[in-house]
């Protein structure tokens, strides 16, 4: 039997950005009906390669062939015409439009000058049925769960007759169940002749779903392998270029005195709905308390209330014995809080500020960064150089804008700033490794454990159960704004935690 035909091929593609060779003579091919995973750390050049194929950038050198024909792609319109569709990590949907309206956007079907919603909806429902997508064409997009919104994006590509679908980090926003559904859909699509490029940095997913795996590092293709011929450790080595420790080594913890004490805390969100009800817990020095839960069960509001970004409606928060309920962020920070925020680009950084400025974002007003109200550039510079080397931040210089760094390095800037402060007693880390690469995750985990071993109290909020289980000494499960269980991490199982997360009433063992 001959090899399936190659539907997409990139030959010798090179792309230079100022200061970075993002793609260095890259060869890549995609066969009909396969799932070809593109694996690599952030900044490895995966997204650049896809943007070249999708027409968002132009290669400096190299050629792209679709179905054996050389094509010049100047814009996404050209790639769409060539049958290539892309689902971006951040969805391009308009929440107040229906599924049908979103799908036809840019390619509207009209009947006598007005939109022909009926015909479009019929076509969408047909596609949806054919591929088992289960999308209702007349539903408003806004209230749909993230997993379904993602399917709307897939429908958009199929509606435009895409035979090649690029999925950019599709599981980053999904729950484990939603990810399983996505994998099933991906297999259905390939069974019907669609070819998929699956961009990710999650090793387990790649091994579970891909037909072939291409690993990229530093702009180059390292190797293309079959899942049956490799394992996680080998893939991780290829990605990072060195041995990677996939589990976190930590000593037994020696819990000291109570640092964070939360009593009967209730918080309302911006819609004025109470999303945290009467929550109480404590975190001791030298321990990590992990808060597990499916996203949207009040974790965001809880961490905002603890860090001063939101005022609680009732209850009490004390840090190191000091009552800090409803105090502004600066007071809480000065009392010893280090906060790694959930959304690093929204809260954690000013993207158009330099790395040096961002590294002093919370302390800019204090000596040595300011003297009598005047900023001391030299102190900012020295501080950033020290932190860049101590926390292994990969940046060409301290004067590069934070927005130019990769996600992992942006997060390292925040981690360095927060954990290096002199008086830290409590770390609140909310989704500290979301969307990051293996190397950065490994590094940030080890920094968190270092803080714990130094006797600092750590509150870790994460939707990744693996992360919670690897780092926590005790685990609290949050469901619908309440803490439904607090257990010793050694005395519980994934299954039990999963049941609590789903709201099942199980007595703690």
């Amino acid at each position: 039997m001959s090899e399936p035909k190659i539907v997409l091929e990139a030959k010798g593609v090179t792309k230079q950005f100022p200061g970075v060779l993002a793609n260095d003579n890259v060869d890549f091919d995609l066969r009909k009906g396969e799932i070809h995973a593109l694996l690599g750390e952030n900044g490895a050049g995966k997204s650049t390669l896809m943007n070249l194929i999708y027409g968002l950038h132009h290669p400096d050198k190299g050629e792209i062939f679709v179905n054996g024909k050389h094509i010049a792609i100047h814009s996404p319109n050209d790639s769409i015409a060539a049958g290539i569709g892309m689902v971006h990590q951040h969805f391009m949907l308009i929440p107040v439009f229906t599924v049908a309206e979103n799908v036809m956007l840019g390619d509207e079907t009209t009947k006598r000058g007005s939109l022909d919603r009926v015909a479009v909806a019929a076509k969408i429902n047909k596609i949806s049925k054919q591929y088992g997508l289960d999308v209702d064409a007349n539903a408003l997009v806004g209230p749909l769960p993230v997993g379904i919104q993602q399917r709307v994006e897939i429908v958009k590509t199929l509606y435009r007759n895409a035979e090649i679908v690029i999925l950019d980090e599709p599981t980053a926003v999904l729950t484990p169940q939603e990810a399983e559904d996505l994998f099933r859909i991906m297999r259905d699509l390939t069974a019907r002749g669609v070819s998929i490029i699956f961009i990710t940095h999650k090793l387990k997913e790649v091994l579970a779903v891909a037909d072939r795996i291409t690993v990229m590092r530093a702009g180059r293709v390292i190797n293309t392998v079959k899942p049956s011929e490799t394992d996680s450790a080998q893939l991780a080595n290829m990605m990072v270029g060195r041995q990677v420790i996939l589990t976190v080594n930590k000593k037994d913890h020696e819990a000291a005195e109570e640092i964070l004490k939360v009593e009967g805390l209730s918080v309302r969100d911006q819609r004025d709905l109470e999303t945290v009800h009467n929550v109480s817990f404590t975190v001791r020095g030298g321990e990590v308390l992990g808060i597990a839960g499916v996203q949207g069960n009040g974790q965001t509001e809880l961490s905002e209330a603890l860090t001063g970004l939101r005022s609680p409606t009732s209850g009490k928060v004390t840090i190191g014995g000091k009552d800090l309920t409803g105090k502004p962020p600066r007071i809480i920070t000065e009392a010893g809080l280090a906060h790694i925020p959930e959304d690093r680009q929204r809260h954690g950084l000013v993207l158009s500020y330099t790395v040096a400025d961002n590294m002093a974002l919370c302390d800019y007003y204090q000596i040595p960064f300011s003297v009598r109200g005047v900023i001391q550039p030299k102190a900012l510079d020295e501080n950033s150089r020290k932190l860049i080397s101590a926390y292994d931040v990969r940046t060409p210089s301290p004067f590069v804008n934070a927005g130019k760094l990769s996600g992992g390095n942006q997060q390292k800037v925040i981690v360095a700033r927060e954990l290096s402060r002199g008086n830290v007693k409590l770390v609140v880390a909310n989704q500290p490794t979301r969307g990051l690469d293996v190397g950065s995750i490994e590094y940030i985990h080890s920094e968190i454990i270092k803080m714990r071993d130094r006797g600092v109290a750590v509150l870790l909020i994460s939707a990744e159960l693996d992360e919670i289980m690897a780092l926590s000494d005790r685990i609290a499960v949050m469901y619908r704004g309440q803490i439904v269980a607090i257990v010793d991490s050694k005395k519980t199982t994934r299954e039990q935690l999963g049941l609590w997360m789903a709201g099942a009433h199980v007595e703690p063992a």
Partner: protein
């Protein structure tokens, strides 16, 4: 050796940054001038003669230079006012009203304070006091809008426009009423002349350019220093670029919004105060001729950088000042100047046109001057 190399590369970088920042405005001006020339030709004028007239009128003699500086003075203050607000993520359309408030109060202190006190004040007290009161009242006027934004979410664009109506109509009411110049020959809505002790001296005998011009340059430098070298400036810029991160970093966002607006209003108020104490020696209805609105154009053209604003203010001043000489030489209407100014602004605002004409590639990030509605 290493440090020397570094300092050379730093100088190079700074020069590069300056040329990057000024490239689009420069090409916009060039394009507008060429296009203006074509239009002059088609309405039957001689473009070269017209531009010669413009240049002579603006720079051709010491008197012309002095008058250009006189025009530039309020433009610099008001341009800085709008730019400072831009840096803090706010769009201050109210410079015109704040300027009027500053002018009214400076005039009041200038003519009425000696009467109230019953004795004359020395210049060293009276003049600074007149300027200070005008400046602070301008700040207060804008600070109200800042407070509304911070505590009620009321958008500053709407509120500054509304405050303009209130300021301009109240000024009209005062200048026609209790503040009106009561001298028997006067029929104009204007205040009495301010006392000699509240007047700013001219720099040179026989020329109208006054010390307010020097003050404007100093204030421009001060604003650059404030924005880039102080903790307050860091707070203003952080709130302007990312209010969520500012809150996270412990900056009092509400206070910073009010303060930014108040500082912006103080600069606009200064524009009015300086016109009263340095040039007109009174406040007269309609003296401003839209300085506060031109200020928005100047801030945009100057890319909200104090040095850029000084240069843009000079350009606008030169065009306004040279226009009458141009009219004298070519019989072209003065309004032509407004048209060229509008073209410049159009090309700066829609810089894609300039990038397309001159094939300039966009550099990564876009400059966001202000956030959208409800931002």
């Amino acid at each position: 050796m290493q440090t020397e190399k570094q300092s050379i590369s730093l100088t190079k970088k700074i020069l590069q940054a300056i040329s990057d920042a000024s490239l689009i405005p420069f090409l916009a001006i060039l394009t507008a001038v060429v296009l203006g020339g074509i239009i002059i030709y088609f309405v039957g004028g001689n473009p070269l003669l017209a531009y010669r007239g413009l240049l002579e009128g603006a720079f051709g003699s010491t008197k012309a230079l002095s008058e250009t500086a006189v025009w530039a003075t309020p433009y610099i203050f008001a341009g800085l006012a709008v730019a400072l607000a831009f840096k803090g993520g706010l769009f201050n359309i109210g410079a015109e009203g704040q300027l009027a408030v500053g002018a009214v109060f400076s005039a009041l202190i200038g003519y009425a304070l000696p009467e109230w006190l019953g004795f004359d004040l020395p210049t060293i007290i009276h003049l600074p006091l007149a300027i200070l009161v005008g400046m602070l009242m301008g700040g207060l006027w804008a600070g109200i809008v800042g407070w509304l934004k911070a505590y009620t979410g009321g958008h500053e664009v709407i509120n500054t426009i509304m405050m303009n109506y209130i300021a301009l109509n109240t000024t009209s009411f005062l200048l026609n009423g209790i503040m009106k110049d009561r001298s028997p020959t006067n029929v104009i809505a204007r205040t009495p002349l301010i006392a000699e002790s509240a007047r700013m001296p001219a720099i040179f005998d026989g020329l109208r350019v006054h010390w307010g011009f020097i003050l404007a340059l100093l204030v421009a430098f001060f604003i650059w220093w404030l924005l880039n070298k102080t903790t307050l400036g860091f707070e203003i810029r952080t709130v302007g670029l990312n209010p969520d991160a500012a809150q996270y970093a412990g900056i009092n966002v509400k206070r910073t919004i009010i303060l930014t607006m108040a500082l912006s209003g103080m600069l606009a108020g200064l524009a009015g105060s300086i016109e009263v104490t340095g040039l007109n020696y009174r406040h007269e209805l309609g003296f401003s001729i839209g300085y506060g609105y031109d200020a928005i154009a100047i801030a945009l053209l100057g890319k909200s950088h104090p040095l850029g604003i000084v240069l843009a203010a000079f350009l606008f001043a030169a065009m306004r000042n040279g226009a009458s000489r141009m009219q004298f030489l070519t019989q072209l209407p003065v309004d032509l100047i407004s048209m060229i100014q509008a073209l410049i602004l159009l090309f700066v605002a829609a810089d894609a046109i300039i990038r397309y004409i001159y094939r300039i590639k966009a550099k990564g990030e876009r400059v966001v001057l202000t956030r959208g509605w409800g931002g």
